[in-house]
Every structure is written in C-alpha cells, then in structure tokens.
C-alpha cells in the first residue's frame, strides 16, 4: 500500500516516459470517446496519430472556458453517463456553469492527488483535519475530504458557515489541520479572540492548507502569526479536476506540480506560443488520467511560471510559482503584455504611495492601447513640500515599472481617497476618454 506518494520522488527520466505514454493514451481516449473532442480535432484537422511524442502536444487545439460552457451539460463525456458517479460544477458568474463528471477511477485518482498535496504540506495520518470549504457542487470540500481520508487523517467535514461552532469543535477535537480559504482562516482567528480565546494557546492547530482564492505572501504571514501555524497554499481548478493540481511543501517556495498526472505548458496569452522555461505566462493544463470528462490543453487564465531547479525538500517534481494574475486582466500596450498585478507589485514597494491605483488606457484611432497612465494616491509619508522630490518619486515609480515590464507608463500622483475603493478590475482599468 503506502507507495502512492512515490510519484513525488520519481526519477525524472522515468517520469518523462510515463507522461508521454499517458498523454498519448489521453489524446486517443478523448478523440475516440468524447463527441466534443472528436469534433474539435476534426475542425482543427488534427488526428491523434499526429501526437507521437510529448512535445507534439502543441499540435492540438486549446480548450477554453467558453468551449467548456458550450459543451454544457455533458457533451465532454467520454463514457456513458451511467459510469459517471459524481458531478461537480463551477459557479459561472456569467453564462452556464462548467460541468465536470467523474468515473469511479477518476475519483480514486483525484483522491490520491489531493492526498499527495496534503502529504507534501506535512499532513500525516495522525492529524485531525477540519474541512471548512463548502461541500457541494464546488470541488473544494469533497476534493479535500476524500484526499485527507485517503491519507488516513481524521477528517471533520464541517463545511462552511457557523464560525462559532467551527471554533468550538476545533478546540474540543484538538484539530491540528485547518483546510479553508485564507480569508476564512483570518476571520476565524478574529472570531476566536472575540470569544475570549487565544488562537495560539487554546488550539492545537499546527498546519493550514489554503486554497480557493489567491493568497498573498502578507496574508500567509498574517495567518501564520495569528494562529502560530505553518500555512501552505495549494492550487487546482474544477475544469481540470479540482484541488490537487499542485501544492506547497513546507519549504514554501512554490507549489509542487503532480507532473505524472498533468502536462503543464506556459504560453504567451496573446499569441498562444510556448514560452521558454522560467518565463511567466498563462498556465495550460492537460490532465492525463481522466476517463469521464477528459480535458486537453485547458487555458487556465492563470499567470504563473515554472520555477527552474529542484526544491530543497528533495521531492523531484517541478514547482509552479504562485499565481500573479489573470489573463482576463491583461492589457497589451504597444505589443507588451501588462498585468495590473505587476503594477500593483511595483507600487507595493513604495511607502510614499498607497496600494490604490488606476490604469488609464489611451487608445489609438484603430483601438490599440498606445499609452497607459498609472494613477496612484500619495500617502502622508510620501507628501513633501518639495516639488523636485515629488517629481523624483514619479520618475522612480516609472523606472521601476519599466525595469519589470519594459514599458514606461506615465505616472500621476493623486490626492488621497480620490480613486475609488474597489478590488474589482472593472474600476481599476478605465478608458482615457471616460474621464
């Protein structure tokens, strides 16, 4: 039995062979059994025979979110629906939801992937883990639940809501692992203190597994300080299986990817071309184990990179970096890809300005973005009576942006509170003529 996590220490040559074989099988399987993929391959004049080795994957068409929406509900299925034993769906904020169906084998594979993710983060069979993700159509709750059971940890399937009860059970059960979104973990620490409890002293928590939403480094440190635990993040999405795609080990230097089960590609989101190793771009994933609803070259929309080199922990799988943005937010300025998150990161390094910013796009007659203005609020610390100092600040910000994204936008200092407080991207990016 207990050799299910050997894949994280596998010999890389052996792994490459395994990946290739599993990819070829997946491509054949999808073509022969999924009406959606047969049609898609035919429309792109490509047959499975053209994929002879791993690198031929680029001959296959991408699958996008809208493809998956159009295949609603079961067009993706590669097995008769009677062999599907569970259905999950992502909550589409617009349009139809994306449906994922799992065969019995798929569920076993998925549980194993999640179990490996948890084991990498340091969970063992001696742990008691509370799952505070919602149980339902969302993959988070069930995904972590069965993975932790596979690992033989003691699982408390609390689901979401009822914070006070969560906190009292966590205390009484001497729960050691918390599985939730990072923001919920912070909220719970706050709630515990309001109940007169000390998150550090009154609980046995030692480890947190966080996912379901982006977790900044600051947020992670905050959670660690509040609870006195090690906080790890993991990554996954319903479209390719759910949680269990990748996750951090205790080194916290990127997320180990389960390479034996997913083929990862990093592409330039504008051209679709593969990027050299180590460069940042859109993550494309092909799960190579799924029977029920196969997915080939899914464009995740998440911006990340593959971290070159090996992890200190000794596991041999490659790591993906934390998600730094979404392609939906990408702006192409004079041929350069610009992500608002990159600007945000640069601005966070200046104490003279606040994190509130706005990108104003100026377009040419043909509609291309020819210029971007970064509007940013000055903080009291940044304000000085010296005109030169303020101009120098604008210049420094501009230079720092130029050195990270090879683009020199205009930088405009704004009065405090003059920009709308919002985290949504819609208000952060405005068209020049709208002002």
């Amino acid at each position: 039995m207990n050799d299910w996590h050997n894949m994280d220490c596998v010999d890389r040559e052996e792994l490459a062979e395994l990946r290739e074989q599993k990819l070829l099988n997946t491509v054949k399987w999808a073509y022969q059994n999924s009406p959606f993929y047969r049609e898609k391959f035919q429309n792109n004049s490509v047959t499975p025979e053209e994929v002879k080795e791993l690198k031929n994957i680029t001959r296959l068409p991408f699958t996008t979110k809208s493809d998956l929406r159009e295949s609603y509900p079961f067009k993706l299925a590669a097995v008769p629906m009677e062999q599907i034993v569970r259905i999950h769906a992502s909550s589409g904020t617009t349009g139809k939801p994306i449906v994922a169906g799992y065969t019995k084998n798929d569920l076993v594979e998925w549980s194993r992937l999640v179990a490996r993710t948890c084991a990498l983060a340091g969970v063992t069979s001696r742990d008691t883990a509370q799952v505070s993700f919602g149980y339902g159509l969302f993959t988070g709750g069930f995904g972590l639940h069965y993975g932790l059971e596979y690992l033989e940890a003691t699982v408390v399937p609390f689901s979401s809501g009822n914070t006070e009860r969560q906190l009292s059970l966590m205390k009484d059960f001497q729960t050691t692992v918390l599985v939730s979104t990072p923001s919920f973990a912070l909220y719970m620490a706050e709630a515990a203190r309001e109940m007169g409890l000390d998150p550090k002293k009154d609980y046995s928590l030692r480890l947190g597994l966080f996912g379901g939403e982006p977790c900044s480094e600051n947020m992670r440190r905050e959670i660690e300080n509040q609870w006195g635990i090690t906080a790890t993040v993991n990554y996954g999405l319903t479209e390719v299986v759910g949680p269990g795609v990748s996750g951090e080990c205790t080194c916290q230097e990127g997320m180990h990817l389960h390479e034996d089960s997913f083929i990862e590609e990093i592409i330039d989101p504008a051209t679709g071309e593969s990027l050299p190793e180590g460069e940042s771009g859109e993550l494309v994933l092909t799960p190579i184990f799924k029977e029920g609803f196969p997915v080939i070259r899914y464009r995740t929309g998440d911006i990340t990179r593959i971290i070159p080199g090996n992890c200190r922990c000794g596991h041999t799988t490659r790591r993906m970096d934390y998600i730094t943005g979404r392609t939906d937010d990408m702006i192409i300025v004079k041929g350069v890809n610009l992500f608002p998150s990159q600007v945000e990161e640069v601005l966070s390094g200046f104490k003279e300005v606040s994190p509130h910013y706005r990108l104003v796009l100026h377009r040419s007659d043909k509609g291309f973005v020819k210029d971007v203005e970064v509007q940013v609020e000055l903080t009291p610390e940044g304000f000085t009576d010296s005109f030169q100092e303020l101009e120098k600040l604008e210049q420094n910000i501009k230079n720092r942006i130029r050195s990270t994204i090879s683009l020199a936008p205009r930088v405009k200092l704004m009065e405090p509170k003059s920009l709308e407080r919002t985290t949504g991207k819609s208000r952060r990016i405005v068209e020049g003529e709208d002002l």
Partner: protein, 142 residues
C-alpha cells in the same frame, strides 16, 4: 520663522477653489499664496493668519496638507533690493527652493517669503547684513 501650509493638488479644476472655500468658511485669512504646478500635480503654498487651525481643517476636508518653515524677509523698497538679498544667500551657499511675495503689500517695504535649505545659516547672514526678518506672529496678524 514663519509656518507655511503646503497642500498637494491634483490638477483638477476646482481643488484650489475648494481650499479657499474651506478656509473662508472657517474665517481663516490667506495672507500670501503661490502655486507650483506641472501638467500632473501642483503644490499650493499658503501663509494664513491661523496656521494650526488651517492645517487641521484642511486635513479634515481630506486635503493632503503639511506645515513647512519659511522665512519672511523685508526687502528695502528700492531698485536692486531683492538682488542684494539673493546675492548674500548665494555667497553663503544657501539654496533657495522657492520664493514668493505677499498678495497685498502690507508695509512700505516689500515682504518676500523664502524656502531655504539652511534656515539657521540664512538667519545669521541676514542679521550680519542688516536685513530684517519678520517673525511668524507679525506675519499672521498683518
């Protein structure tokens, strides 16, 4: 020494008006002002009769405001008066960041406000040369 109020202004029409309205409503009188601006932003510099109150009401109104020290120099009302003063400062290697004058001429002689990189040294130089400096209390109540 004179306390000046500096206010950061986005180049938005109406912000200057807002500052003046806010002070007017609070019965704070503006004695002198200057605006330095580029196409991006501006710094409004004010001498008022009640600097501390002005600072707090402006901050309450959401303005980015701060206090800075400037000196007020009485320049003999004769040709070359200002030139002499500037020459003395140059000789002593004191840099002038900016200077401006009063809205209305409050006395026989011209009054100039200057922001310098070394105020203490400038005070000595002016004393040696017999150029009178005007203290805050007198300026505010002019």
């Amino acid at each position: 020494m004179v306390n000046q109020i500096s206010v950061f202004l986005e180049n938005k029409c109406g912000r200057l008006v807002n500052v003046c309205q806010t002070l007017g409503r609070e019965n704070i009188n503006i004695r002198a002002l200057s605006i330095a601006d580029t196409s991006d932003f501006g710094i409004l510099r004010l001498i008022v009769d009640q600097p501390e109150r002005a600072l707090s009401v402006l901050k309450e109104e959401g303005f980015m405001a701060m206090e800075t020290e400037v000196i007020a120099v009485e320049i003999p009302d004769s040709p070359g008066g200002l030139a002499d003063v500037l020459h003395y400062l140059e000789e002593a290697e004191i840099n002038i960041e900016y200077l401006y004058s009063f809205v209305e001429k409050p006395a026989k002689d011209a009054l100039i406000l200057m922001r310098l990189d070394d105020i203490e040294k400038a005070k000595k130089v002016m004393e040696e040369k017999g150029i009178p400096l005007i203290g805050g209390e007198r300026i505010y109540s002019l």
